[in-house]
């Protein structure tokens, strides 16, 4: 029974990954662009190549990367390789493998995104729940509207504004980079503080850019729940506000929000593309951005798949967490 469920979920996971991989495989190939050629154009523009018949080198490399095979063949190989967890080499950063590109980029992104996503999730949900709660002080409830406005400020704009006012005008915080130049992070306290200092602005941009959404959705849900009979009955029972808030509001709203959290991690990577670019942080967003701009197919596939798989896995994992959050699901 439970095995069957796990089997079905894993199957689902595979289908999701297959769909995502097919989409990312097909779309960039719709234009006839030869990734290798674009790469060599880049190289020859920055020099290092004799302008003489580049085409020969291009043909040679196209062969090595299997780009000269018929599309169908490429697709098969591609799927086969994915099954082996082998995304191949980056075209752009050969002989680095796609896995290495991701592994290099992920710590920075993960550190930034995980922290900001979780923080904005917590802050947003807390404020959202509060703003929906009739017993909350008026000023807390009034905060909902500014937060809705915040949902209208995409992280990139938030980043640009923060950079302009705090970075340029006030010169309060570092303008970019993950740490002070020349420091080799050695795990010491000071190197962490240095890192933290550099991450304040990008984190703020990400948090402020996404917290509004949480406030909104949590508020909507909180208000819905507030009309539920069991909340009324809780008041009739003479429970303290704290208990009602915690056990009757939060417990019941957290469930759908948890799924949304898993999904949000996927969308936040998109914000990372712009934020990492803006603040010169070498993470997965940057890796993806430059891969897209240089037709580095394997890296594009690798990253999109990685993120999709991560989100899908989280979602599936959530389904196994649900029963812990909501006993009603346990029986099904």
């Amino acid at each position: 029974m439970i095995l069957r469920l796990i089997f079905r979920r894993v199957l689902f996971l595979f289908v999701v990954i297959w769909c995502a991989s097919s989409i990312v495989f097909i779309i960039p190939r719709l234009s006839k662009t030869n990734a290798i050629r674009e790469r060599f154009a880049e190289l020859s523009r920055t020099g290092g190549f004799s302008p003489d018949d580049l085409e020969k080198i291009i043909a040679s490399y196209s062969k090595q990367f299997g780009l000269d095979a018929p599309l169908w063949q490429q697709y098969q190989d591609y799927l086969g390789n994915i099954l082996h967890m082998d995304f191949g080499y980056s075209l752009n950063r050969y002989p680095m493998t796609v896995t290495q590109v991701i592994v290099t980029a992920i710590p920075s992104t993960l550190g930034l995104l995980l922290v900001t996503t979780v923080l904005s999730f917590l802050i947003g949900n807390f404020l959202g729940a509060l703003s929906a709660w009739p017993k909350a002080p008026n000023w807390v409830r009034a905060m909902a509207t500014p937060f809705v406005l915040l949902t209208g400020v995409p992280p990139i704009i938030m980043g640009v504004l923060l950079l302009f006012f705090i970075g340029f005008r006030l010169q309060l915080l570092p303008l970019g980079g993950a740490h002070t130049i020349g420091i080799v992070p050695d795990g010491s306290l000071s190197s962490y503080l240095d890192l933290l200092l550099h991450l304040i602005l990008p984190s703020l941009a990400l948090i402020l850019g996404s917290v509004g959404g949480w406030v909104l959705s949590m508020r909507g849900m909180g208000i819905t729940i507030q009309g539920e009979d069991y909340v009324n009955f809780a008041e009739h029972k003479g429970l303290t506000g704290k208990v009602i808030f915690r056990d009757y509001y939060l417990r019941n709203t957290l469930l759908p929000q948890a799924t949304a959290l898993a999904l949000a991690l996927g969308t936040v990577v998109t914000s990372a593309i712009v934020i990492e670019g803006l603040f010169g942080l070498p993470g997965i967003g940057q890796a993806l951005n430059s891969a897209i701009r240089s037709n580095d197919f394997p890296v594009i596939y690798g990253i999109v798949l990685f993120i999709t798989a991560a989100v899908a896995t989280l979602m599936v994992a959530m389904e196994f967490v649900y029963p812990l959050l909501d006993p009603r699901i346990r029986n099904q």
Partner: protein, 327 residues
């Protein structure tokens, strides 16, 4: 002993008045409602839908929410005026002095936490600092007293049937042995067999803790089976309060009379006698007595003057011009 208790009412409601301020205008949902209740007594509260029964219950709990407002009145429970309490004291008073068993027991339990926890949090919120084991024992006793298996303590609401949930709500209601229990249509969602079980349960636990019970509903049959006295509401006013027997044999108010004669019973098969006309909207109440457009005994005075509530012999209350002279 019973007699001694009967002498001093455990619950006194006086001049309660509630208004809802809606978009469409003001609706006076409770107008000058007063009655008393003795310990161990069961009062039925009947009336058409929208006549203000639930509003009365909520007002007694001080749980009227905006756009509603309690405009005036007092509710004395065992000598304390609930209306005069601070918010915190009122919170404490709920469940410990006056308990409310909700209308929709189906949805009144938090679906994500165990039944046990929902009993425990009620105790803890009332400053009970006993050990875990003691508290658990107390809860299990409460469950047992409503005929539930102690195993229910560890169950979730969705694992219970409607009748069981209703009984859990009753168990919560008696947890702190309140002096007054208000049950708002506790069985309208249940079938007759379960309904009977639940009513019997309420009766039994009431006897255990000697509380006064107010049963809200519109099923006269249920009232006949269960309560001692019946209060009839019409458009936010209490039009009659009598014992069941008196009400069935000698209804005073024309509305009550119509209500009684519209009841089906085994003797009068096939006779249907409704009350003509419609209940008025609270927003546009007729002048004078709200019932006069439907009243078979309407007099001129009824159209212009609001009748006052009078206490007749044997403690019956009635609000009707017919009895202006009697007093």
């Amino acid at each position: 002993m019973a007699d001694a208790l009967h002498k001093s009412p455990i619950l006194t409601v006086s001049n309660l008045e509630v208004t809802y301020y809606t978009d469409a205008g003001r609706a006076k949902a409770l107008d000058d409602v007063s009655f008393t209740l003795n310990a161990g007594e069961k009062l039925g509260m009947v009336g058409e839908s929208g006549s203000g029964k639930s509003t009365l219950a909520l007002a007694m709990m001080r749980m009227i929410k905006p756009p509603g407002r309690i405009e005036a009145g007092h509710v004395f429970v065992g000598g304390t005026d609930l209306m005069a309490l601070s918010d915190e004291d009122m919170r404490q008073a709920r469940l410990s002095k006056i308990a409310y068993i909700p209308q929709g027991a189906m949805n009144s339990l938090n679906p994500v936490i165990r039944i046990g926890a929902q009993l425990v949090d009620a105790l803890r919120s009332h400053g009970i600092r006993d050990s875990r084991a003691q508290i658990e024992e107390r809860c299990i006793n409460a469950l047992k007293s409503v005929d539930l298996d102690p195993a229910v303590f560890r169950m979730y609401p969705h694992e219970l049937s409607g009748g069981m949930k209703q009984r859990v709500c009753i168990a919560i209601g008696i947890l702190l042995q309140p002096q007054v229990i208000i049950a708002d249509e506790p069985t309208s969602a249940l079938d007759v067999v379960t309904q009977r079980q639940v009513m019997e349960t309420i009766d039994r636990v009431k006897n255990q803790i000697n509380a006064a019970v107010i049963l809200i509903g519109h099923d006269m049959g249920l009232m006949a089976q269960f309560v001692d006295r019946v209060a009839v509401m019409y458009s936010g006013r209490l039009v009659e309060v009598s014992t069941v027997r008196e009400m069935f044999t000698n209804p005073l108010h024309p509305y009550t009379a119509a209500l009684i004669s519209s009841l089906p019973n085994l003797q009068n098969k096939g006779v249907f006698q409704g009350i003509p006309g419609l209940a008025p909207s609270l927003l546009r109440l007729p002048s004078g007595c709200a019932f006069h457009p439907r009243c078979t005994k309407m007099m001129e005075v009824c159209q212009s003057t609001r009748p006052l509530t009078r206490t007749l012999e044997s403690n019956r209350l009635v609000t009707c011009h017919l009895y202006d002279a009697v007093v």
